[in-house]
């Protein structure tokens, strides 16, 4: 592989996703072709029903395409079994969800630690990494709080720490700022930008939030299950 190919971390080739609701077929994706480079900070935008979340789900191996190929770091996810997909999600993909989706019976520390434990990381390494990440997202001293003892923004920061803990190839964030106030949203984006910059983590957002779009260096516009426009920007937000 040459360097250009190595730089492509996610590749969708003619991806179609058809949902069946009763007798009605809904075509959520209609032949999407897409390449995401390593280290990108990308926003997928578009109106409701345009296929943003479905695209993220398919990239994240949460859903299977009806047709087409999905390659993550060169591996075709459509050819893998459930166990292998679980391992890929565990080791190579981080998720940040709109509704935070932390495990309610685990503390902030344990939520972030869980993915490392699943990966089999030694306890000392887990402790060092999780404490470092919680400090980076501004949650020092809150390690032992459970989700119901944290604000929405704090919960989303735990989710970000969890998503980044295993040094995944890509972090998929589905409307991560939708349930938080403006100040918290800005703070979350700053954190994710910092993690993108310092850890080299690739972020792909699905969003309606102009604040996310303003910080994204690539914006993919989706309409009716297709990529309508693919826009790249420099670090100042100007079209590249």
């Amino acid at each position: 592989m040459n360097n250009d190919t190595d730089a492509v971390i996610v590749k969708l080739e003619g991806v179609t996703r058809v949902f069946t609701q009763g007798k009605v077929e809904v075509r959520a994706l209609r032949g999407v072709d897409l390449e995401i480079q390593r280290g990108e900070f990308t926003a997928i935008i578009g109106p409701s029903g345009s296929g943003k979340t479905t695209t993220l789900n398919i990239i994240g191996a949460l859903d299977d395409p009806t047709a087409g190929r999905v390659l993550l770091e060169g591996r075709d996810l459509t050819k893998l079994g459930r166990g292998e997909l679980s391992r890929i999600r565990r080791d190579r993909i981080g998720f940040v969800f709109q509704a935070y989706n932390l495990i309610p019976v685990l503390t902030a520390y344990e939520n972030a630690e869980m993915v490392l434990a699943l990966k089999g990381a030694p306890k000392a390494e887990r402790q060092r990494k999780v404490m470092q990440l919680l400090a980076e997202v501004g949650l020092e001293g809150m390690e032992h709080r459970r989700p119901d003892e944290l604000s929405g923004g704090q919960q989303q920061r735990v989710a970000i720490a969890r998503a980044i803990a295993t040094n995944p190839a890509v972090v998929l964030a589905d409307e991560p700022t939708a349930n938080v106030d403006s100040e918290t949203a800005e703070r979350l984006l700053t954190i994710m930008e910092k993690l993108n910059r310092e850890h080299g983590a690739t972020f792909i957002f699905s969003t309606h939030d102009p604040r996310v779009m303003a910080r994204a260096r690539r914006i993919i516009h989706m309409v009716d299950g297709r990529v309508d426009r693919d826009e790249r920007r420099d670090q100042h937000g100007a079209p590249a």
């Binding site: 949460l62 679980s86 999600r89 969800f97």
Partner: protein, 405 residues
């Protein structure tokens, strides 16, 4: 995160539901443990009464005796046979059996007379411990007899009263003698209660003119020896005589005792099936409430097997807590049931099963099996009930799970 700790916390996230589920499990298990102990007590009491008071484990007769019981059909050398049985480790005692008519005052009744070797008989029968009035036989008082309770009432006699017994002796002469009631037995078996008259072997021999031989040997087996194996050995020792086990002598009772085990398993099955359905419902609710969470777990990389293990662990924790609670609660229950027992005298004073009297105080008996079988069955049912929702949660696709509301 330790999966057991994770499962433990999940159990307590819906505290009330978990407590209700565990209470149902504990109650069912406690009932099954107590039921098992009480059935064991019932069976044990029945078996003890039969073996210790009436039958022994085996009986030896002259070959024709069981077909045609007769005063003349005797084991010719009971002394030699008893010595051989002693050497082989089988406690045994000879008895003489005859029938006659007993009369006291204006009352009379047909009786079955049993001549026992007072010293030896204690090694095979505990009947001597069941005298409720007076005392057991004493070789020093050969005219003393011990009567069944109902017979004593029929004849209206008590300790110290005289009793005339009439029969035909083996030499064809009229046998008649005056005996003194020395003791009255409590009910050990219908036959003994209604017509049993125990006397010393010497008194019997003199009364019936039977100088030698015996009609019956009562044989016990060492506790570790299986009945069939013991019977085979005794048949070898008593070659030429008829050896029958208690199961041969009382086939209906043996069959009933065997069927009680089956009935007990059937009872277990019904109760545990009910508990299994309750548990299945609870586990289904617990799983479907958390489908979205299982989706998240799968999204972050927990394998289907990991989800399955987590749910099974949650069920196992609840089951083990229920086992602990039921076991603890059973201790005071058994402390009462094994000592005071359940008094059935209000229902019936004399309870008998197929002619064998039962103690009207129903006491439980506790052993390893009292706990082992109900607990094992409980764990199996819980595992089966949890397997379905756990499997469903394990195989659901993450995206479907996360869309679940």
């Amino acid at each position: 995160m330790n999966p057991v700790v994770f499962a433990w916390r999940n159990v307590w996230r819906s505290r009330r539901r978990s407590l209700v589920t565990m209470a149902a499990m504990s109650f069912a298990l406690l009932m099954m443990i107590l039921y098992t102990g009480l059935v064991a007590g019932y069976m044990g009491g029945l078996e003890r009464n039969m073996l210790d008071l009436e039958m022994g484990d085996m009986q030896v007769f002259a070959p024709e005796y069981k077909r045609d019981p007769s005063l003349y059909t005797l084991i010719e050398d009971p002394g030699g046979l008893l010595a051989k049985l002693d050497d082989a480790g089988y406690p045994a005692a000879a008895r003489l059996i005859g029938s006659g008519l007993a009369a006291a005052g204006d009352a009379s009744a047909g009786v079955e007379l049993r001549g026992v070797d007072v010293a030896r008989d204690k090694s095979v029968s505990e009947v001597y411990q069941h005298v409720i009035k007076g005392a057991w036989l004493d070789p020093a008082q050969p005219q003393g007899v011990v009567l069944g309770g109902r017979l004593a009432r029929t004849l209206a006699v008590s300790v110290g009263d005289e009793l005339v017994v009439l029969s035909q002796a083996s030499d064809g002469s009229m046998a008649n003698d005056l005996f003194v009631v020395r003791g009255v037995l409590k009910n050990i078996a219908d036959g003994v209660d209604r017509a049993g008259v125990f006397m010393t072997a010497d008194a019997f021999r003199e009364f019936f003119v039977v100088p030698e031989g015996a009609h019956q040997l009562i044989v016990r087996r060492p506790p570790a020896r299986e009945l069939d194996a013991a019977a085979a050995e005794v048949r070898g020792i008593a070659a030429g005589e008829s050896v029958q086990t208690w199961r041969d002598l009382m086939p209906m009772l043996a069959s009933m005792m065997d069927s009680i085990t089956g009935a007990m398993l059937f009872m277990y099955g019904i109760i545990y099936m009910a508990i299994g359905i309750v548990l299945l419902n609870t586990m289904l609710m617990a799983v479907f409430e958390r489908v979205r969470e299982f989706g998240v777990l799968k999204a972050i990389g927990v394998s289907p097997r990991g989800v399955l293990t987590l749910i099974m662990l949650e069920s196992l924790i609840q089951a083990l807590l229920a086992v602990a609670v039921a076991t603890l609660l059973s201790i005071p229950c058994f402390a009462y049931l094994t000592t005071a027992g359940i008094d059935l005298t209000a229902i019936a004073r004399d309870i008998s099963v197929m002619g064998l009297a039962l103690d009207p105080i129903w006491r439980a008996e506790v052993g390893l099996g009292t706990y082992l079988y109900p607990i094992a069955m409980m764990l199996i049912i819980i595992t089966l009930a949890a397997a379905y929702p756990a499997t469903r949660a394990a195989v659901i696709r993450p995206v479907e799970a996360m869309r679940h509301r």
